[in-house]
């Protein structure tokens, strides 16, 4: 990394660039995790979401999501922001801080939840985007770098539409960081 052919005053400084996600992992504020298996069929749907509790006092910055479609039919996943999600939610225990060198291990405020076999659809919020997921594939969307910012009492959800008779199994994973709110 020498620029010997340039005059000294033209030699640029070398800097190490950390992405925002990596920086927040160094601080112990970056988390990764997944839902439990989400199952549905016939007229029932399912969803997986990151839910920021009302009293969390943090904003959640989404960096990545993945959708694994274990079914042999394509799936439609709808992205919903800040909606109220139907059905009985299950809170996931499959999560960890990206930085495992901090003791005790940091615990996220945001919860990963999912629901299977729900009969209703999300209410309120905004149906923001849609993704079609091929059979037996993991769709990955990385490096949002905190484009989706979810405040306390709000959520980022992937809502799955039942493709019909087939019994569908799918699983959602997320990477995100949390920043304390300035009061």
């Amino acid at each position: 990394m020498k620029f010997a052919f340039l005059k000294k005053e033209k030699q640029p400084k070398e800097v190490i660039v950390l992405s925002d996600a990596v920086y927040h992992s160094y601080l112990g504020e970056y988390f990764l995790g997944q839902t439990d298996m989400i199952t549905f069929r016939d007229s029932y749907n399912g969803w997986g979401a990151l839910i920021n509790p009302v009293d969390s006092n943090v904003n959640m910055f989404l960096n990545a999501y993945t959708i694994s479609n274990f079914a042999s039919t394509p799936l439609t996943a709808e992205g919903w922001l800040s909606s109220v999600l139907p059905g009985k939610a299950k809170v996931s225990t499959y999560f960890a801080a990206g930085n495992q060198s901090i003791a005790p291990s940091p615990v996220p405020k945001v919860k990963i939840q999912n629901a299977s076999m729900v009969s209703r659809t999300p209410t309120g919020g905004t149906y923001t985007f849609v993704r079609r997921v091929e059979p037996n594939e993991t769709l990955t969307k990385h490096d949002f770098q905190g484009m989706y910012i979810i405040p306390p009492g709000s959520s980022f959800a992937l809502f799955f539409l039942s493709p019909g008779k087939e019994h569908v199994q799918t699983r959602v994973a997320f990477g995100w960081w949390e920043e304390n709110m300035i009061l």
Binding site: S25, Y94, N99, E137
Partner: protein, 179 residues
């Protein structure tokens, strides 16, 4: 170009953390041997940070190769314990081949196939479906997953059914001394 000189941007060279650590001889690439599994048997490969290593591992990229005509699921685990029959991989090398003698990692890569017992300890943080006859390459984590001494980063390849499956795992990481 009408701005005052003090307003001019400065030129910088943008070096990523993986590139920087490779220059310093701290970036390593490890590959498992051929992993045979399927028909109720799973396979596993990972890097272990020994208790007394004095370094943290900064995880970067994984690849999972599927040599078979059937897809399977790879489960990504943090801090799982190695299966009992795990063997140490010899195909581990620094990415910077210009340093003599070659730097050696403190981390140990291990792998095991035809395993039946579930992983103990640790947490399964996400999973990937690996398509038939393909190599899945993860995005660069650029050190956002940090493994302390006594911890591990590993991937469990799950048997998809009756078929026999052949696969391999490659992991890349760098190591920094704990201050």
């Amino acid at each position: 170009m009408f701005e005052k000189k003090t307003k001019q941007p400065i030129e910088v060279v943008d070096i990523t953390s993986p590139a920087m650590n490779s220059m310093l001889g701290r970036y390593f690439i490890g590959q498992t041997g051929t992993l045979n599994f399927g028909n109720k048997y799973d396979a596993w490969g990972g890097i272990i940070n020994p208790n007394n290593s004095g370094v943290n591992l900064y995880f970067d990229i994984f690849t999972i190769t599927n040599f078979s005509p059937q897809s399977f699921t790879g489960e990504i685990w943090l801090n799982a314990r190695s299966p009992r029959k795990a063997t140490v991989s010899s195909t581990v090398t620094p990415s910077n081949q210009a340093i003599s003698p070659p730097p050696r990692p403190k981390a140990i890569m291990e792998y095991a196939d035809y395993i039946t017992e579930p992983l103990t300890k640790g947490v399964n943080i996400f999973g990937r479906i690996v398509a038939p006859n393909s190599t899945l390459v993860s995005d660069s984590h650029r050190g956002s997953i940090i493994i302390a001494p006594g911890g591990s980063f590993s991937i469990l390849l799950k048997s998809p059914g009756q078929q026999n499956i052949t696969g391999t795992i490659v992991l890349t990481w760098w190591e920094e001394k704990i201050r």
